[in-house]
Symmetry: C2
Subunit: 598 residues, 2 copies
């Protein structure tokens, strides 16, 4: 089987594009070194390869089902959790005092990428748990952290996020799950939550749900939403488990992909009382949740990148082995058929995948790098970096979700009929990844977030930071050989995007909020491609600098980076213009369409 990621590329991204090797100069990472980071990545590779990749297809073919009232998963999932726990990955990014390694975000993301590439379904359980613990670490009381977070860091208990309800998915403002105050300061929770991943299973001793609910009498809308810790089993003062907390599995959802991840409909307060503890202050639930959600969105983007990456490598391996057809210039029917990687159209499909998944990986790691800069970087850059990360988050989430799907379609296409069967993994990745443009905020929501909030936030400063960083890299690329096409294509995309944003923002007061947002998707597409073009410029700069001294495989690697950058410049960046023009013109086609006309 093809490897599920390229370790060489990961090294390039961390140490040649980003300056990860310099992080140990910061106080928080003083105990680290590049060797420490490489050991972490090697461990991640080995655990992912041995305990996650081994049952990705098995979990796909045997989706979670209920046996004697319990959700049954393939046994290999439990072994994977054990290996993940023993390797220390539940807490690796946390403070030493919590048993962690204080790993920087960029190394944490790189390590986690292995598990996503190897088995997206099984990896959901630990990553939801990690996200849950991160939220508690930020907002829960010390007592709550002691009681509910530490067991998550140890990997003994798992976590979920319980936001959606049957009638409220994207529209969280309308949730109706209710929290009624009890005399002891806790709350009685009643209601139904839908689409809860990892909502019920036997992988861990307990499950800690983070539940959005309204305290009785709270106002309508998001200001009335609070956040609660709701365990599956109640927890005694000494940390031992008590009786059932009456969170009842009402049904399993049967999905096209991502089948290893149990997805549930849960009833709270059915057949007995469900008790929850309020996190922080009432009415700030959504705000707290979005702290976790922003990390979750970067995580979704990285998951999409890695599914696309695994598919790319599988189709590449196939294209190097499969022989079929001849070049148009060869009229000798008795000659041996060529390996299909020799066909220009197959190279197009492979280069497109390469440009998407390596561009997406660069962006995901850049986002993690920004998280490090915000937390441990020079003081004076932190606000800029925070605004830039805010601006980029909808792109980090949605661009790989959409374009990895196209890359995976290209992977299937390279493999032809074989790619369409269960004998190859790509059809599974294709089904898995189709979830990514939906969960943790649909593509529509990301577009509205980007154009309606992030672009104008803080007087548009995030956008200014983005543009000035791109300009700095464009300048840095001057004089390097072989970068003309990517530079000029990116300059055009930046100019078109900037002009379009200026145009729509100028018109905004006349348009009103609804028409202003009508083409938000074009803003997302336009800026998404521009940002990935920038990520390719950054990779091309690193490759062009390294190439003159490189030999053998290394030289080939850098030439591949430069050619993929050229591909993105010639084949993808020209698509920006149509989106920019649509946005700039405040096109009314969708806005004016009427229900009755469909």
């Amino acid at each position: 089987m093809a490897p599920f990621l390229s370790r060489r590329d990961l090294q390039f991204q961390l140490y040649e594009v980003l300056d990860t090797a310099s992080l140990p100069q910061r106080p928080r990472f003083a105990e680290h070194s590049r060797e420490v980071y490489d050991d972490v990545l090697n461990l991640a590779y080995n655990v992912a390869d041995k305990y996650f990749a081994n049952h990705a297809r098995e979990a796909d073919l045997n989706e979670p089902h209920v046996v004697d009232g319990k959700v049954k998963l393939v046994p290999a999932a439990a072994e994977a959790m054990k290996a993940f726990r023993e390797a220390g990955f539940f807490s690796a990014h946390h403070d030493e005092e919590l048993g962690g390694l204080q790993l920087p975000h960029v190394v944490t993301q790189a390590a986690q990428a292995h598990f996503k590439a190897a088995n997206i379904g099984t990896s959901s359980y630990p990553f939801l748990t990690i996200g849950n613990a991160n939220l508690q670490r930020a907002f829960a009381s010390p007592e709550q952290q002691q009681k509910y977070m530490l067991p998550l860091l140890e990997g003994r208990w798992f976590g979920t996020m319980a936001l959606s309800e049957p009638h409220a998915g994207s529209g969280l403002a309308d949730i109706t799950t209710t929290a009624t105050p009890r005399e002891d300061g806790t709350y009685s929770i009643t209601g139904t939550k839908m689409w809860i991943s990892a909502g019920e299973h036997e992988l861990s001793e307990n499950i800690v749900h983070l539940v959005l609910a309204r305290i009785k009498g709270a106002p309508a809308g998001i200001r009335g939403i609070s956040l609660f810790i709701v365990p599956r089993y109640r927890v005694n003062e000494d940390g031992s488990l008590g009786e059932s907390n009456n969170v009842v599995l009402a049904g399993l959802n049967h999905k096209m992909g991502y089948r290893g991840t149990t997805n549930t409909l849960l009833n709270f307060g059915e057949g007995g009382e469900t008790i929850g503890e309020l996190i922080g202050e009432p009415g700030r639930g959504l705000q707290y949740m979005f702290h976790m959600m922003n990390g979750a969105r970067i995580g979704v983007g990285m998951g999409a990148v890695m599914l696309g990456y695994a598919g790319y490598l599988a189709s590449l391996e196939y294209a190097r082995e499969r022989r079929q057809g001849r070049h148009a210039s060869n009229k000798d029917a008795a000659s041996e058929p060529v390996r299909i990687i020799e066909h220009a159209d197959v190279r197009r499909l492979l280069l497109r995948q390469k440009s998407i998944v390596e561009g997406g990986l660069a962006l995901g790691l850049y986002a993690a790098h920004l998280e490090d800069e915000i937390e441990t970087g020079p003081e004076e850059g932190r606000e800029d970096n925070a605004l830039l990360l805010d601006l980029l988050t909808p792109i980090v989430k949605s661009w790989p979700s959409k374009y990895s799907q196209e890359a995976l379609s290209d992977a299937i296409q390279v493999m032809g009929g074989a790619g369409y069967t269960r004998d190859a993994p790509v059809e599974m990745y294709y089904r898995d990844n189709r979830l990514n443009p939906i969960h943790e905020g649909t593509e529509g929501i990301q577009g509205n977030d980007l154009l309606g909030r992030k672009v104008t936030q803080a007087g548009g400063r995030g956008l200014k930071v983005l543009l000035s960083r791109i300009q700095a890299d464009l300048k840095a690329s001057g004089g390097l050989e072989g970068l003309d096409e990517i530079r000029s294509a990116l300059e055009q995309a930046v100019a078109q995007s900037s002009a379009a944003l200026q145009s729509i923002l100028t018109k905004a007061p006349d348009l009103g909020p609804d028409l202003f947002l009508a083409n938000a998707n074009s803003a997302l597409e336009m800026l998404g491609h521009t940002v990935i073009g920038w990520m390719w410029l950054r990779q091309a700069i690193a490759a062009a600098r390294a190439l003159p001294e490189a030999r053998g495989d290394d030289a080939d690697f850098y030439r591949g980076k430069l050619q993929a950058a050229r591909f993105f410049a010639t084949h993808e960046l020209p698509k920006v213009k149509a989106h920019a023009e649509l946005l700039a013109s405040a096109d009314r086609t969708t806005f004016e369409m009427q229900d009755a006309w469909f």
Copy 2:
């Protein structure tokens, strides 16, 4: 459940865009009338609704499997075959003397569309049978037709096309299945065929395989390939069935979608002799097969259209019912959430689907209309129409295959999590349709066929016919209200496409055949979008002419057509430019990429 197609749209396409009602003026259709055609379509709707739509999901969930050496399908498939047979659809387009109705191609395609939309997997069995019979009708001897074709027209026996082999899928020139002459003039067939749809089942008394093979001693390449009739059971002189012909099921392929259609690996001549009869002359097998293949390619395109259509209607129904969120301009959290069809981004997803599937349907029916013009239209236009159909065939096959997939992704997106589960049909359509860009000639092959063969064929006359017909429609649209955007967008797309083709054709001698074809995919994309833009102009003309007199639902219908035409003009046609520029520049990015650089 949502309807699987729009009968109103089908009426519009047949009678308002195309002039189907005038066909009975031709001698071959003299017994017909519009009422006859409508009766046929009503019958198709009723049979498809009752006997095909009923088990689409059931067949998806219970894929064909082997029980006691026999391939078992869901029982409803056999009932569907009976209903299809009793309704006379196996032979409806054939001559009266063969028991047919002499239906024109355009009505036949429209009727068949119902079954594809209702259940693509089960509908493969009759459509492969019909294609097989069509080939026999064109090239088999009268004795062969009597023996092997008539039972297909009666729907008693079914047919397949057996081209691919494990080592030869797209590269048919390299097939190795061998035909050894026997003393009685028949041939002994040995070899293995892969990806044979409907290759084994118990739905019919016999299965007639059309098998490509090489007669011993034949030259290498396609000139050495001949075509054979190979029945599953040998056929006695009186038409009764004899013993097994030793075509052995070696395995079933397990696909992502299209699961109702058995897909097989077949061994010929295993455990005994497999006897075949040569069709026509030796060495012309591929040529005969392509007679069937061109029809099959139009059929694949129509299948893709109808899967997209069914998905569009399902997501439209959902969007009209599901309430979620509020307009950005509404700050009242206590107000009722709007139906999601009110959100501009959801309307974008729906309009995009509408523009793709209705544009694709217009093209598929236009291709069928051309078939009628070639066979029964005015003598003087036949050659032009034949060249135009040749030119359009790769687009008819590949454009809906690719863009229905995007439409189905949009359908899933409209429905969110619900669309990603098996509770809704769209995830199944999405899995089903992903086959269409692969089988009957991959997208890569269609691109090479278009640029490498069809564009230059007969001195480029097919292309000239296309351009002059588009110009005629552009002229006809003058003076009609509301068509400015579509007209000007199409004019630009036509100008860009023409210039790009002229540029690449001028450079061709210097480029050599391999580099000339390196960007064939861009030619396919560019001309595909341009042709669909033309199909939308034709629909817009019909709608604009009818609108002034229309009332109520009819007026809404025409306004929807105009708005979808505008959508295609504003959101899709601007994408032509980037492809045209890439093609015109003879971009070398994919051509120069090296294996070692990946």
